[in-house]
Symmetry: C2
């Protein structure tokens, strides 16, 4: 009965159907990362369609990161990386970015990052500390330009994420951090404040607490750090609304 009335709104094209079939095979691990698919011609025979339909299905899957097409060689199943998985979300954040996003962003960070700092203090390894020190050293090098400083700022917070040694956390934090340079640029441009003056101090403080494995200390230090960020964001959002500036 479902078949009779099932044709409204979900009529898949051939290529979409092929896409789905291959996607399912990957989901069910019938196709594993690194594995090579049959050639386009063979797939066309298997599915009983023309090469065009097959090609468009392969194109869609490779656009989504599930496949990798090597011209002259063949099509391979991709190992779906975490950075690739968060790209779609980063794009979404970029597209819907507006004045309110600036505040939502910092509030979201306040929700997570202090806890994250506490966790990092508990779980950090010696290798993590080495990376922190390298980052802080580069940060206090005043010959860096604004872009590099923004990059180092993001890197510091990313180091806290990785120091928590939970692979799911980078997945959700990466898109959030991808917005930071944009916000920072807006703050530097519109509020005369050179944010980079304060950040190194807070970073140093947070690092010290992580090094000492003082979870509560790291929590508080991060909270303070984000309080500054919240104040800046509030000022920025207010200023932008008053001056009718779009954040793009």
């Amino acid at each position: 009965m479902e078949e009779l009335f099932g044709k409204i709104g979900k009529s898949l094209t051939l290529s979409q159907e092929i896409e789905l079939r291959i996607e399912d095979s990957i989901r069910q691990k019938k196709l594993e990362p690194g594995q090579k698919l049959p050639s386009e011609k063979e797939l066309g025979v298997i599915f009983g369609v023309s090469r065009t339909a097959v090609r468009e299905a392969l194109r869609m899957l490779s656009a989504r990161g599930l496949l990798h097409v090597r011209k002259g060689d063949g099509v391979y199943v991709n190992s779906f990386s975490s950075s690739l998985a968060s790209k779609s979300m980063s794009l979404y954040l970029e597209l819907q970015f507006d004045t309110d996003s600036i505040l939502h962003l910092v509030h979201l960070r306040q929700l997570i990052e202090p806890n994250l700092a506490r966790l990092a203090a508990q779980k950090r390894s010696e290798e993590d500390l080495v990376r922190f020190r390298l980052n802080l050293a580069a940060f206090s090098d005043r010959t860096q330009d604004a872009d590099q400083l923004a990059r180092l700022d993001v890197e510091f917070h990313t180091l806290i994420v990785t120091s928590s040694h939970n692979p799911l956390i980078p997945l959700i934090m990466d898109p959030i951090f991808s917005m930071l340079p944009r916000v920072k640029t807006l703050i530097v441009n519109h509020l005369q404040k050179t944010h980079s003056d304060n950040a190194p101090n807070y970073h140093q403080k947070i690092y010290d607490m992580i090094r000492l494995q003082d979870g509560e200390g790291a929590f508080s230090a991060m909270q303070e750090h984000l309080k500054i960020a919240e104040r800046d964001s509030l000022l920025l959002a207010q200023w932008m609304k008053e001056n009718q500036v779009s954040p793009n």
Copy 2:
């Protein structure tokens, strides 16, 4: 000089180049959601390529959710929804799901959800409360089957997310929640425990705190709720490792 040596590793195909061009137009808001693109034939003339190349570019963009193709009509710029943005991440979580993910997942929830419950208690509206009550009522209806109960469980936690009234939060929580039914099924199947016996009580308690706008109470209640979940997850992961069971 860069042109001379720039050809290694980044030789884009025609269709990828077109994809990039259209994507940039969308990023720069030159193309806005709902807007109709020129027909494939016209685009082919514009870019100076055949319809094939254009079609594959459009296919890639529609696979990523940026465009929407209506057969017989035309191609439109999509309004990139948050649920669409988290799909890629959900797929990633599904593909790399293993025994360890069960623990990482609950630890991540412990990091965020108690704070989220506190925030929800502060920000919830009356409409949010209505939705909570509907969910709890359905939850205590014992005629529901396991799938529906799992769905209602996820819905409860999603309601907390939406009650926080920060649109960025659903974005990162949706992929996390998309894993819950799978974990719950494993728990029910492998540990004789019927988790649904306890969940309603905790949900009720959390809801009460949110209703009373008792942030700290909501925080604690959620912490307790997740402590149970952590205990179950630990038992499950241990059991699965001992019995060499794969989580698929």
